[in-house]
């Protein structure tokens, strides 16, 4: 039987998206719909002394204005989404975001008042009439200064701005250090960026007083947790609340189940006012109100033998979690765990402090802290290689975990609360393949000397990474064969462009022997399926995909049993192909799946003891622990010695995400991830000044990579199956962007003949220009 798994199947969802018929949240228009706008803090930190909304309330076309005082008992801090992992000695202070600022504002963009009006234009007119009295308090931005005793406190009732302290270790680093021939230590800085999905967030809500149902359209990556949480907050049954995440225009992390103020208030107000409401974030709001990522400062060191064997690594870092920390410690734990990478590190000591600042809250953004760890480790290896006089590729080869070391337990706790254990991997061939593709030896033998002689500054980078993917807890799916012969798949994860409509359809089509276009996938609608968590941590294909496959196999069993009975054949002889079931060797007698579906639910006698009607099954998959994908990125860059502009001449990715469902989609994820990574590494930086004001809060000033900045990535797939799920899948969603910062740093240093040492990301043309000028001086 032909298989769709591994085929370059074109996407089922594309026709709707290409013709403008796909529904996004901002497209929702309902009769009588009113529009919402939020008044947001201009101050990074201040005591809120008063909010005067009387003029706004009187403005023609305004329906209602709400401040924190108007919310009554509904005013409460949002849920702690991810509790801290069970690491001994861990210190953690949870402070989650509030719906509207009440006593204090803690970052620019924090909502203070909500206006409901007949149009968004009128709602924004009314915002201008609200007077806010704020007594400014000092901004908190610098992570070290934030922990000094005299720093202004973001949360008055806490002893300091310390949000968490986590120390993890394996082995004995101090002894490793004492035994080492070389210790290299440096400070590394990774600064903030925005996720910058092209679709901003949006929420629409409608309360139907007759059915007593609340329907919410939300740009969320996790509709089911939002449904459950809103039901609890609003005192409704979960069955009274429907959350629909239709097409979502890019997620990248911040659209996870945040219970953002707007996400909570719009449904609340829709019910209270009896009007359908919609709020759509504008780009300016997005820069202050949608969560961000990345600020960390690492003081790290590596201890090695003369031969380049890693004895141990120590890393002490500060993590900026912004004004609140609803997402717990996921990001810094990812940094802590991903640092170990592909390497054998017998002794590891890592301690971080998460710090409250007066900046927008930090939650995972594509990569979710992993790139910081990779940056630190790969930079340390580059520096060590130079000091030891060992080729940097060779140094890596000497320390890679070998296939017989899997599963490999790193003896520290990962973000999914399980010990960090790599499921499988084969790293050396990945490095060798990347080196061969980029032409590592030839580059240094011929190309670089020749181009240098012409005065051109070209350099090569090559770095490896691992990515923990596919974590639990679980996802589910329901597969139904309808009498039309169409197969319906419903699952709880949301989709933001990852091709779930196609990848899940491929898994199901294979199990049932039907055409992939006959499989219709519904995601992100709690009316269709209401158990599950969401799309994050590169887990959709692994966890929900496996559930889809299991449900389809259960349906297959029903199809086979029924077909065997109706065709009077032994079940083991039934074959499913082309949408039909037939007995082996009996081409004359066959039944279509549609006919079987009708026969499985007849008007008389459908259900006998032990049977269920129809051809339908629901299945769940909950992996014990996540998978570990990996990859090696290599690139050749040219640096303009005058302008410090960096041009990427070639970019190679060798990656291993286990078994591939659809190479077309996987390659798209990698190419897009690399583009995201290039932005993070070289263009995108959120510039806050010392007053906590974000100075580049527009797409004019916050630079996303455009078509002329991103090369065509050359890719090679390796497939080391995961033993943790039956299809051998690992995730890929974040892979492309994890290695890019480390890669840029290495390649640019190489291009400049190591005249500069790069310890900070993002590297911008501006920052590189200054580094080059300092080096010359």
């Amino acid at each position: 039987m032909a298989s769709y798994i591994g085929e370059r199947v074109r996407r089922n969802e594309d026709a709707r998206l290409l013709t403008g018929r796909a529904l996004f949240v901002d497209d929702v228009q309902l009769p009588g719909m009113a529009h919402v706008a939020f008044l947001r803090s201009d101050h990074a930190h201040g005591r809120l002394r008063g909010v005067d909304v009387e003029d706004a309330r009187r403005y023609p076309g305004v329906i209602a204005v709400f401040t924190a005082a108007d919310l009554g008992d509904f005013w409460q801090p949002g849920p702690l989404l991810v509790p801290p992992p069970p690491v001994p000695g861990l210190e953690f202070h949870a402070r989650t975001q509030v719906p509207l600022a009440r006593d204090k504002v803690r970052h620019v963009g924090e909502p203070i008042a909500m206006v409901v009006a007949e149009s968004r234009y009128v709602a924004e007119d009314a915002l201008a009439l609200i007077a806010v009295d704020v007594e400014p308090l000092g901004a908190v931005g610098d992570l070290e200064a934030a922990l000094l005793p005299d720093a202004p406190k973001v949360h008055d009732e806490l002893a300091s701005n310390l949000a968490a302290r986590v120390r993890q270790q394996k082995g004995d680093y101090d002894r490793a250090r004492a035994d080492a021939d070389l210790v290299v230590s440096r400070r590394f800085v990774y600064d903030r960026g925005a996720s910058a999905a092209i679709e901003n967030r949006a929420v629409a809500a409608a309360w139907d007083p007759k059915s007593e149902e609340l329907t919410i359209w939300d740009t969320t990556q996790a509709p089911i947790p939002i449904r459950n949480g809103l039901a609890r907050l609003l005192g409704l049954l979960e069955s009274q609340v429907n959350v629909i995440a239709p097409f979502v225009g890019g997620g990248f992390g911040p659209k996870i189940m945040m219970f953002y103020p707007e996400e909570v208030l719009v449904p609340w107000a829709a019910r209270r006012l009896g009007r359908p409401l919609k709020w759509t974030e504008d780009r300016h709001e997005n820069f202050g109100a949608t969560t961000q990522e990345r600020s960390q400062v690492h003081d790290a060191e590596i201890a090695l033998t003369r031969e380049g064997r890693i004895l141990g690594v120590r890393d002490v870092f500060l993590h900026d979690n912004g004004a609140y920390n609803a997402y717990g410690l996921t990001v810094p734990i990812n940094s802590q765990c991903t640092l170990l990478g592909m390497y054998r590190v017998p002794n590891y000591e890592s301690e971080f402090k998460a710090v409250f600042t007066t900046r927008t809250q930090v939650t995972p953004v594509r990569g979710a802290g992993r790139q910081h760890g990779v940056f630190v480790m790969e930079r340390l290896l580059d520096l060590a290689a130079r000091e030891l006089g060992i080729d940097r590729l060779e140094l890596r080869r000497r320390n890679l975990l070998s296939p017989d070391e899997f599963p490999h337990n790193h003896e520290i706790i990962f973000q999914d609360f399980a010990p960090l254990t790599y499921d499988s991997g084969d790293y050396l061939p990945a490095f060798d393949e990347a080196a061969a593709l980029i032409g590592y030896d030839r580059f240094y033998r011929e190309e670089q000397p020749r181009l240098r002689a012409e005065g051109r500054r070209v350099g090569l980078g090559i770095v490896g990474y691992v990515e923990g993917t596919g974590i639990g807890p679980y996802e589910g799916a329901r597969v139904t064969v309808e009498p039309s012969g169409l197969v319906r798949v419903a699952t709880g994860v949301g989709t933001q462009g990852q091709g779930h409509f196609t990848a899940f359809a491929q898994l199901v089509a294979d199990a049932l022997g039907v055409d992939v276009e006959q499989v219709r996938v519904v995601t992100g609608d709690t009316r269709e399926f209401h158990w599950g968590t969401g799309t994050f941590a590169s887990r959709g294909a692994v966890v929900a995909g496996t559930a889809c496959r299991s449900a389809a196999l259960a349906v297959r069993d029903k199809v086979v049993a029924l077909a065997a009975r109706l065709l009077d054949a032994a079940p083991e002889t039934i074959e499913l192909e082309g949408g039909r079931a037939r007995g082996r060797g009996r081409d004359d007698a066959s039944l279509s799946l549609g006919e079987l579906a009708a026969r499985a639910n007849p008007l008389r006698g459908a259900v006998t003891p032990g049977m269920e009607p129809g051809l339908e099954a629901t299945a769940y998959f909950g992996p014990d622990r996540g998978n570990t994908a990996n990859g090696v990125h290599a690139m050749i860059v040219e640096v303009d010695p005058e302008t410090a502009d960096v041009k990427i001449l070639r970019y190679v990715v060798v990656h291993d995400c286990g078994r591939l469902i659809n190479p077309l989609i996987v390659e798209g994820q990698i190419q897009g991830g690399v583009a995201h990574g290039i932005g993070n590494a070289f263009y995108e930086q959120l510039h806050y000044n010392e007053d906590g004001q974000l100075l580049n809060a527009s797409l004019m000033d916050y630079l996303l990579p455009v078509a002329t900045d991103v090369p065509d990535v050359e890719m090679a797939h390796r497939e080391t199956p995961s033993p943790f799920n039956p299809s051998g899948l690992k995730g890929v969603g974040e892979a492309g962007c994890i290695a890019t910062g480390a890669l840029f740093a290495q390649a640019v240093e190489d291009a400049l003949g190591h005249a500069v040492e790069i310890r900070g990301i993002p590297l911008s043309p501006d920052r590189l220009f200054h580094l080059m000028r300092e080096a010359r001086a």
């Binding site: 915002l127 201008a128 007053d691 004001q693 100075l695 580049n696 809060a697 527009s698 004019m700």
Partner: protein, 154 residues
């Protein structure tokens, strides 16, 4: 944001000092100022309309308080301005020194700017502040010229 500079007034220091204490004159000197009135002592309140790069014209409330006055040498100003597109808050120091050609004014201000004007106006904010200052000082000179031509009022 820090704005510092000097400006040479063609006129005697006492005349310049009086000019700078007159809210009607100051209102004229501030581009976009719609009114500025003395509310009590050295406190003035008013409003101004400002356009800045991509930020469209917006009305700001304006409170100016004079402090540390040492006539006719120097004074300080506390400035607090708020509007739908953000706020400006800070201090400015003005010193007047007699020179051969007239009176040299040196000024320095340290202003905190927040909200949308800070977030999207950053690329033009320094330039705009400098232009507004220059325009304002030139209209003050015109006013000074008119007063001095008018004879004995100073």
């Amino acid at each position: 944001m820090k704005v510092t500079g000097t400006f040479l007034f063609r006129g005697p220091r006492e005349a310049v000092w009086d000019l700078l204490q007159d809210p009607a004159v100051l209102a004229k000197a501030m581009p976009g100022a719609e009114r500025l009135e003395r509310t009590e002592g050295d406190r003035f309140e008013g409003s101004m309309k400002v356009s800045l790069g991509p930020v469209t014209a917006a009305r700001f409330t304006l409170v100016v308080e004079l402090a540390d006055k040492a006539a006719p040498e120097r004074f300080a100003m506390r400035i607090d301005s708020q509007g739908p597109l953000g706020f400006t808050r800070g201090k400015a120091l003005v010193e007047l020194t007699p020179v051969d050609e007239g009176t040299m004014m040196s000024y320095s201000s340290d202003l905190q700017i927040g909200g949308r004007i800070a977030a999207v106006g950053q690329r033009v904010i320094d330039m705009a502040a400098r232009m507004m200052t220059e325009k304002g000082l030139e209209s003050l000179q015109k006013e000074l010229d008119a007063r001095l031509a008018g004879g004995s009022r100073a």
